[in-house]
Point group: C2
Chain length 329, copies 2
DNA sequence: GATTTTGTGTCAAGCGTTTATCATAAGGGG
DNA sequence: CCCCTTATGATAAACGCTTGACACAAAATC
């Protein structure tokens, strides 16, 4: 029984002080004697009081909520990214609202509006289907993943060109005569497209035959990868090395090779991307380009935080990648 | 130029009506002519107005926010679950606040308090380290995953006992003479412990040698699985079948077997649990017990929603599991 | 032509906080 | 004894919105 919500008034009454005093201890301002502070804390405890953040937010015009929009948290890369973003957000005192756009333009727009309506302090965008100008008049701290929207909006990324170079060179070094790159849709203006640029440039420079396979727009539907990989091997049975756009795709390559009796790494070599935790669970274990997911998530939160506090931030935030050699090359 | 936030007053002024009228069109109540409705919509569009949900929430005492607390969204099972929860939450008009407890009791408590403070409409708990009474006086719609806290708090689960039976019988049917079950820590009062009960009962009934390996409390640190599996094979080199507590653990078993040169499924058979999407990416593909993750997520949201609307809900919500036979048995 | 329905306005309270202002009072230092 | 610091209270406004009460007028209905 008892009223539904206990408010600061109830605490004040119970402690025998005014709401002003309670608010003072709550916010640590003005003079408060140790005795009343104790009384107030005790009353709060007894009533199981929790300050209404909604009311506070309304007044302060600050919610300490961050929105994060990503294609789907069911994809290992984004699930790990989401984990670290939430982790560091929490350290900075922010809560996180999770949005899976599924790369659906309508949904993405609705999420952005929803987050605006909920007065989030900032948005971390890892899903990009909207036109650039949709973001520009957002008047909200924003950080972008793997896409440069303008000269003003900071983004975090890792060195995609280097990643592409590293992967391609490795495949060639290991003796592949014809290599393939399975990558996301190149029409999406993502920085990840740099990987393909590097792939093509490296293959050409080293005079190796190469082919690029582009996925659909909806890149993150894991169950579709197999078909894509199968098609690749049908159309290009002479491919000796595959540079996959993600570890999940690479795992799919390994699986298809196994089904078709192609030995890895003897007949076909594979390098993945991301170094997500499943990369060390495949058989053989996956050679891959490691993105520093934790650092990227941390950095994204920092960049948002600094913007919220009106601090200057760099626009380009590109972290290094590393080659992790395991069993598939 | 341009004040920071545009409010309902600005819209009213721009449209040449009062805030009451704007509010009326916003909430579809009272009489409104098509003409003014249009005027108001146009003004909102021109000003890029988005109603302040914080203010609305304060008044309505309803935020349409759901909290979801799970061990870590970086684990495939929880990442898929989180995806579906968010998906269906969105369909019901809820937003989702994501919390990774990392099975840390302190963090879990802080998250619960934080969610209370933010006036969420309900909490979906998939992480359970707190004492039962911490939840009982929460006075908030709650749904639990895989744990029965009391006779009042609804939970969703899948048929763990059946899952354990199915897996164990399969291993025995396929000829394993000695089988192992790698499971979560049995001290945590989880319904998943039923799997081990079924494992033991089945093994005994069918007179097969068996051994149970318990993980630490912190079950979801993927990198720790290898050591555990290695230890298992050192202590029990004669094990012929492994029933893993999750597909991730099963993948680790496959990997270790490969390293030690034990052939799967010839020498060792493995069955996983969950049927997470990586289960079909291992080599060979994993035989596993499928939990209906989407249905579980959907059901959790429904149960919360019904509670919020003061509808009656069943306490026990146990969904069926199925055996998915692939290449590891 | 009387009545009802429709459309809009005015005003004010309230959601749970914070915060500024002012008032009051006790105790200590000079 | 005066002043300053410390400690608390009383009061009210504000955050952006919804809602109810009431008023008034035009249009539709009988």
């Amino acid at each position: 029984m008892g009223m539904a919500t206990v408010t600061i008034k109830d605490v004040a009454k119970k402690a025998g002080v005014t709401v002003t005093t309670v608010s003072r201890v709550l916010n640590n301002r003005g003079y408060i004697s140790e005795a009343t502070r104790e009384k107030v804390y005790r009353a709060m405890k007894e009533l199981n009081y929790q300050p209404n953040e909604i009311a506070r937010s309304l007044l302060r015009r600050r919610t300490h909520i961050l929105g994060i929009i990503l294609p789907t948290v069911a994809h290992p890369f984004f699930s790990e990214l989401a984990f670290f973003i939430e982790y560091y957000a929490y350290e900075y005192g922010y809560k996180v609202m999770l949005c899976n756009s599924q790369l659906d333009q309508k949904k993405e727009k609705e999420y952005v509006d929803m987050l605006r309506g909920n007065q989030v302090d900032g948005i971390i965008m890892a899903s990009h289907t909207l036109e650039v100008d949709e973001y520009l008049n957002l008047k909200l701290p924003l950080v972008t993943f793997d896409r440069q929207l303008s000269q003003d909006i900071p983004f975090v990324s890792s060195d995609n060109y280097l990643g592409g170079t590293l992967a391609t060179n490795l495949l060639i070094d290991k003796g592949c005569r014809k290599i393939a790159h399975i990558c996301g849709n190149l029409r999406l203006n993502m920085l990840a497209n740099q990987r393909n640029k590097a792939f093509v440039a490296t293959a050409q420079a080293r005079k190796v035959e190469y082919v690029t396979i582009e996925t659909d727009l909806n890149v993150f539907d894991i169950s579709q990868y197999d078909k894509l990989v199968l098609k690749l091997f049908e159309e290009h049975p002479d491919v000796e090395g595959v540079f996959a756009g993600s570890d999940v795709i690479a795992a799919s390559v390994i699986k298809v090779c196994h089904q078709k009796g192609k030995k890895i790494p003897e007949e076909i070599k594979v390098v993945g991307y991301d170094d997500v935790s499943i990369a060390s669970l495949t058989t053989p274990q996956l050679t891959t380009i490691r993105q520093p997911i934790e650092e990227m998530g941390k950095l994204a939160v920092e960049l948002i935080h600094r913007q919220i506090n009106k601090e200057k931030v760099a626009v380009e935030n590109v972290l290094p990648v590393t080659l992790v050699e395991r069993g598939t090359t």
